[in-house]
Amino acid sequence: MNLSLLRTMLVWISGGALLIAMVVDTLAMFGRALQFPLIGSIEIIQAVVLIAASGGLIITTLDHAHARVRLVLDRLPSRWRRRFETLYAVAAALLFAALLAGSLWITADLWSGYEESEILRIPYRPLRLAVVLALIVLLVLALRRPGTRESR
């Protein structure tokens, strides 16, 4: 998939999720003050924040914008820096692979449990699948030509 299309989709889907969280939490606050509580608002926010955070993780990885200490790295010759970048791309792939394995494990274990939220009965299966999908994208991004691009 074209990366700029992926980015545009992520920004609007995840950003939209964030805007939904903003609206729901604001309404919940006013609703509580006006004695019209918005029942289950926290459950909606939990679900949409998961979408927003997953998209955020992908955008950060896409932009090589993860936080790091640059004290030593910036002083290395460029050849060494490239080697370190390759190493870090492998490290990222390892971490995402491990997180994916763990998430798949849990998802498989709980699949037949029909987990859902308490009040609105939001099913957890799609949420767990969204996390798995996000981790697959992160793994693919980490494996994609490691070290050929300088991190920001």
Partner: protein, 435 residues
């Protein structure tokens, strides 16, 4: 391999080495934590634990506060609020000697109240205040030093990204942390005002006196910040008084900032997309770091390293104040080579149990830790704020910027000692409000 404190210590050293070698913080924390858990508990529990932590973190209601506060900050950027805060402060104080430097610090505090990042505050205020001060004949040391130091207020004045992350890692109330940070943030700002006042007494030529603004100019500047000011007061006041949860306050702040952007005629599809994209990028960074930190913390707790460190330090018999001063020295040393977030995530799982053993409050420790982190932003070799300011004013050497920040650094160290000796500075307001 059995779980022993030595295993934990090896993990900490490995993590420190990876961080210094430039591995992204989230990857380093997660990998060391996973490797440690796999070695001590086995691969299966390590993977399952990490899978559980990923889902829990991404669906955590309290952590949703962070992207919403970031959205509020990015929307305030769109509304061009940073310039307005400085303009108001410079109209009020600019005619006094050193007034523009005081205005810069006050502007940083104002901007810090909508934005939880030291670097963003320094960069934004630096672009506005440093050129203006230099143009008006201020010494480059004072112009750059005041903004580099003032920028650290972004991390302390609520809402603070660092305090939210600490609250999640340490399982403490974010609302109480925000309330506890208010007096330290204000006293920090006042200490900077004092430094500037002393500076102009000793070196009057460093800051020339400027023309006084008329009251109509002041009123116009006040009108420009009144909408954002009311939003900030509602958000922060709501949290402090317990009317709203931090998450609700963040949502209200973001919604209010969106409305302000629309009312100021600055909102369009491109601006909204830009704000959302910046928010998501920063949020993704923090989420990965938090996931990594929680995995690392799980590993450290399994090894019993914190108990061993607690027993060792307790054996010195320094008492709470002596021990925390020792911890402050340790944090400042480590903070000279690690950035603030890395410092917090590396040390919180190790030091928090020690703090509990000493009978100290975790809330106090969170504020103390953030204060120590902030100092790392202005002292070399890390001193990220110094580099940010040099990016804004490339013709001022790093040495001059550091010379300018030195008096503020002295005030910072004194302030940190005061927080240790008088914990009431941190805990007084939450206790008074019954939080």
């Amino acid at each position: 391999m059995s779980a022993q404190p030595l295993t934990g210590l090896v993990g900490v050293v490995a993590l420190l080495a990876l961080l210094l070698a430039g591995m992204p913080i989230g990857f380093a924390l997660g990998l060391v934590g996973l490797a440690g858990l796999a070695l001590t508990l086995g691969l299966e529990p390590a993977l399952i634990k990490s899978g559980v932590l990923v889902f829990e973190t991404l669906t955590r209601y309290e952590l949703g506060t962070l992207p919403l506060f970031m959205l509020m900050a990015h929307l305030c950027f769109v509304a061009k609020a940073s310039r307005d805060f400085f303009d108001l402060a410079s109209r009020l104080f600019g005619h006094r000697r050193g007034g523009l430097a005081i205005a810069s610090v006050a502007g940083c505090a104002g901007f810090g109240s909508i934005n939880g990042s030291s670097l963003a505050t320094t960069a934004t205020m630096g672009l506005v205040a440093v050129p203006e001060m230099r143009e008006r004949g201020y010494a480059d040391t004072m112009a750059t030093g005041s903004v580099a130091a003032g920028g650290t207020l972004g991390q302390m004045i609520p809402p603070s990204g660092a305090l939210i992350v600490f609250g999640i890692i340490a399982e403490q109330s974010i609302g109480v942390l925000f309330t506890a940070a208010i007096v330290p943030g204000l006293t920090q700002m006042l200490s900077y005002f004092l430094v500037i006042a002393l500076w102009v007494v000793l070196r009057p030529e460093a800051a020339p006196q400027l023309a006084r603004s008329s009251w109509s100019e002041r009123r116009a500047a006040l009108r420009r910040v009144i909408d954002i000011g009311l939003l900030v007061m509602t958000v922060t006041g709501g949290i402090v008084l317990g009317w709203v949860t931090p998450s609700e306050a963040a949502a209200l702040g973001a919604a209010g900032a969106l409305v302000i952007c629309v009312l100021r005629g600055r909102m369009n599809g491109q601006a909204l997309r830009g704000a959302l994209e910046d928010t998501l990028r920063t949020s993704g960074l923090i989420y990965l770091v938090v996931i990594g930190a929680l995995i690392f913390a799980a590993f450290i707790s399994v090894t019993g390293l914190t108990d061993a460190i607690g027993a060792t330090i307790g054996g010195f018999g320094f008492g709470p104040v002596g021990t925390m001063l020792l911890v402050a020295v340790f944090l400042l040393l480590i903070g000279s080579v690690l950035d603030g977030l890395a410092l917090m995530l590396l040390t919180t799982p190790i030091l928090l149990p020690l703090v509990a053993d000493l009978g100290l409050s975790a809330i106090w420790f969170g504020v103390f830790l953030v204060r120590a982190m902030e100092i790392g932003f202005v002292h070399p070799p890390m001193g990220l704020n110094l580099y940010v300011i040099q990016g804004v004013a490339p013709e001022v050497s790093l040495g001059r910027i550091f010379k300018g920040v030195l008096p503020f650094l002295a005030a910072d160290l004194l302030h940190l000692v005061l927080l240790v000796v008088f914990p009431v500075i941190v805990l007084g307001l939450p206790q008074w409000l019954g939080r």
